[in-house]
């Protein structure tokens, strides 16, 4: 492995000059530049990045926390982030917290041990108070998570609005008996907000909702199918369902059509996320602007790294899109 020293020797110059050429410093004669370049080529030289990191005290690497990369929402987020990061010369380290507090805490050490310049959190398992101290070691940006007090940039969606516009859409289509499916209702701020939006739209329209039209702990395709099994037994079933997820919506539609129900005539369904599934099942869905969230987040991250200022709170609120297909 050739070092900068070897290049210097071959070029008959000092290490300093070689370093200057590598880093495009001014005050180097064209002639010496050529000499250095030639020597570098000849020796197949590349700067050693570990040494650079130590010297410059930065790594050009960013850690991204996701619960699991197989979740299409997060993989899409990461896809765009990696692209944006690469464009600006940064690498991405993938950290899957697997919804575990301990796992998340382990990864925090990356920032402390200077293995990365910053942290992007797309989901948070621990209390903010656990994470806050690490701000001392480098910037943190939150993405798609919300916290009232954290003094960091936050890029997020107004999930109340998301619930609202989806529900409003159903109401405008003329449905009056609306059902609601949600995931982990109690713990998640996100699920809670969507529910608020749902209720707000209901209130505005003066609609009532039956308790038996509320379904919690629905996450998967299978959950959607099971939910339909319950619905079809109801004496007074809902006409339309707001689901917080395309998976659940897809399961509902599949089970319903298998049973001979017509969608949307017998049962309308609206999903969330606009995943490939939604296209397949022709689901109307509330689309989250994933590409924008991701690129904005990355931009704020790199900005924070470069500015080296104290972290400050900054909220970036992004809008949703309704994608209408044939399920409503």
């Amino acid at each position: 492995m050739a070092t900068i020293q070897d290049v210097a020797k071959l070029a008959g110059l000092s290490r300093t000059t070689v370093s200057r050429v590598i880093n495009n410093h001014p005050y180097v004669t064209e002639e010496k530049k050529r000499l250095v370049s030639k020597a570098m080529q000849e020796l197949n030289y590349v700067p050693n990045s570990s040494a650079r990191r130590l010297r410059r005290q930065q790594t050009e690497t960013i850690a991204v926390y996701v619960p699991r990369i197989t979740n299409p929402f997060f993989s899409h987020l990461v896809e765009v982030m990696e692209k944006e990061a690469a464009k600006k010369g940064y690498q991405l380290i993938l950290c899957q917290t697997r919804y575990k507090k301990q796992q998340e805490r382990n990864f925090l050490e990356l920032l402390k041990t200077k293995q990365v310049d910053g942290l992007i959190l797309t989901s948070i398992e621990n209390d903010w108070s656990e994470i806050e101290p690490y701000l001392a070691y480098g910037p943190i940006v939150m993405c798609n998570e919300y916290n009232d007090t954290a003094q960091v940039p936050i890029v997020f969606l107004d999930q109340i609005k998301g619930g609202y516009i989806g529900t409003k859409h159903l109401i405008e289509k003329g449905y009056t008996k609306l059902g609601f499916c949600t995931g982990n209702h109690k713990s998640s701020r996100l699920a809670h907000d969507r529910h608020m939006g749902f209720l707000k739209a209901l209130n505005e329209a003066g609609l009532q909702m039956k308790d038996e039209w509320f379904f919690s702990s629905t996450h998967s395709i299978q959950d959607g199918k099971s939910t339909f099994e319950i619905i079809k037994e109801l004496s007074d079933p809902p006409e339309a369902i707001f689901t917080g997820s395309d998976e659940v919506a897809a399961g509902l539609v599949k089970a319903a059509t298998d049973e001979g129900w017509k969608v949307p005539e017998d049962l309308a369904v609206i999903g969330f996320d606009n995943q490939p599934l939604a296209e397949l099942m022709e689901l109307t869905t509330v689309e989250q602007p994933i590409e924008t969230i991701a690129s904005q987040t990355m931009e704020l991250m790199i900005e924070s790294i470069k500015s080296k200022r104290k972290s400050v709170r900054k909220e970036v609120l992004l809008p949703f899109n309704m994608i209408q297909r044939s399920s409503t």
Copy 2:
């Protein structure tokens, strides 16, 4: 930021001793160990990983190349790899080649500049001759890609067999008119092999195939739907279709049932991968043992890093599973 020097000073010992404690070297008195630990805690000290990397000449980081992380096959692969890597104290850098030669070549510099200890390739865009020279800088392991000559560990599936068992299944179910969908037929070894397996099963059963039952450049759900549009116009349509992808299979089934065809009575379809889509549409599919591929690959990678021997060829061949559902 506290350094090892600060700890030494506070503990009233030398850097050497502190380093010994950190790295669990023998020959340190219990008493001094305690002293050092106390000082470390007090200063909230963590070893600087850049300095460590420079000194030890290794990074405990592995780069994983995938075309795009949003492809469920690759995200599943990466999910498991990250998990295995973390278990053994390694980080993963995500590199999306986006099916571009240039992009792939850019990432190769990671190995050369010592930013990672090794490379895992789950797809290859460039000729092997482009990549081979980088073996001088660190180990490379291939995963789900095949190459005849590369002197590296290769973990892969016998795609000929994959095509064969899927087709055999259709034949055993009694179908005799078999169609075939493939992606990028000409360039990809993988697609080519599956086709070979398909033909082998056909031959063994003494079956003939019509040219019009062969569909190339099919990748997406939409392609599956379009393929059905062609099939339904044929005067002599196939009874069953082998597709190289659950997406295509799902699109086919969706379009067919929408048109009032019964699956599998009017048209049987078999997918590939066992993605969530396959469960939703109740697709029979050929499952690739993704978790095994991923963990075996990671194991070989870490082994290669640790052994520091010259890279040698080693083939690990893994079997498929048939998952039978109601589409056949």
